[in-house]
Symmetry: C2
Subunit: 218 residues, 2 copies
Amino acid sequence: MQIAIVLYDRFTTLDAVGPYEVLSRLPGATVTFAARQRGPVTADTGMLSLVADAAIDELPSPDIVLVPGGPGQEEQMADGPLHEWLRAADAGTSWTTSVCTGSLVLAAAGLLAGRAATSHWLAVHRLADFGARPVRQRVVTDGKYITAAGVSAGIDMALELSGRIGGRPAAEAIQLMIEYDPRPPYRAGSPDTAPADLVAKTRMASRHTASQPVSAAD
Amino acid sequence: MQIAIVLYDRFTTLDAVGPYEVLSRLPGATVTFAARQRGPVTADTGMLSLVADAAIDELPSPDIVLVPGGPGQEEQMADGPLHEWLRAADAGTSWTTSVCTGSLVLAAAGLLAGRAATSHWLAVHRLADFGARPVRQRVVTDGKYITAAGVSAGIDMALELSGRIGGRPAAEAIQLMIEYDPRPPYRAGSPDTAPADLVAKTRMASRHTASQPVSAAD
């Protein structure tokens, strides 16, 4: 089972590495990080590079595609080689997935039209610009398309996907090995629980303009 | 504020990237991934490399040190350049931290003697071999030493550390941006909640031998 995780300049690392840490532990899975060209790809902070071991063109037929988000997503919205690759790969995937604003790239490539999907809470409304139906939920599944909310949501998404692929015991074994028994020390992980002034300030500073809040569905 | 995250062959990526994703967002923080030599370091799966942008010797005085875990930890237990660097760096740190079996490396370097500490649930008992007091808790703080449980626990640890450094509002702002509102689809993230047969089977297959279970303290 070939899993392609797409990298591009200024991606958010945890969007990619959270699901990788889960999916790479699925029996029979091979995860390949792929970018336009092979080689190091620098994350959004400028403080870390991950190595793309393949060019996307070297992976024409992955079983699963995962697109992470990050500030660099804005440069991946125009039609071009990545979108062409995504459309061609998607024709043969079992699952096409995203984390955070990675769903905007899938949507801009035309893959989410008419489908329910999610994204980072600051960006989820933008899915409507591409004919998708924005849903504020941690993980949204519509057919073979699974989209996750912001950054850390990719871990939850990947565990759910692992259960669908390998069955519940396989997913539980992964969860136990990565000791995923989260205990956030604060209750600020969602705009529904974070202090209202922080949510307002964060919305004001966001690059995702014309924000029409989408209510939580879960 | 200089934060050094140590890389070594066959580290577990999420151990390092979870805290990085949090700590890199702290105002004034610079995170540097450092290994014995600069260049790509391959993770435990063999499917991913992260680039160490510095050699540890180029970072003699970090404010914070973080050591991740992973199967490669076993090769970092003998005294040598990494331990020497850890002891020298630790003399000047504000915080010395670990995720998963990274605490065994800190302990083997002599930094946790007499201290409460934690590790991956399968390995936590081994801390006693180095004079530390094993505690089964998600995050354990003893003075300036903060150790986290397995793999994903580094996210919780880094949020707690962010609050200690930058104050609660700074930590909450980070948690909101990475949408850390975890919703594991299964309840298998701890040996206390996972199916008993899975826990037993996992313990049998573990490389951490002579396992004397340490009871949960939280």
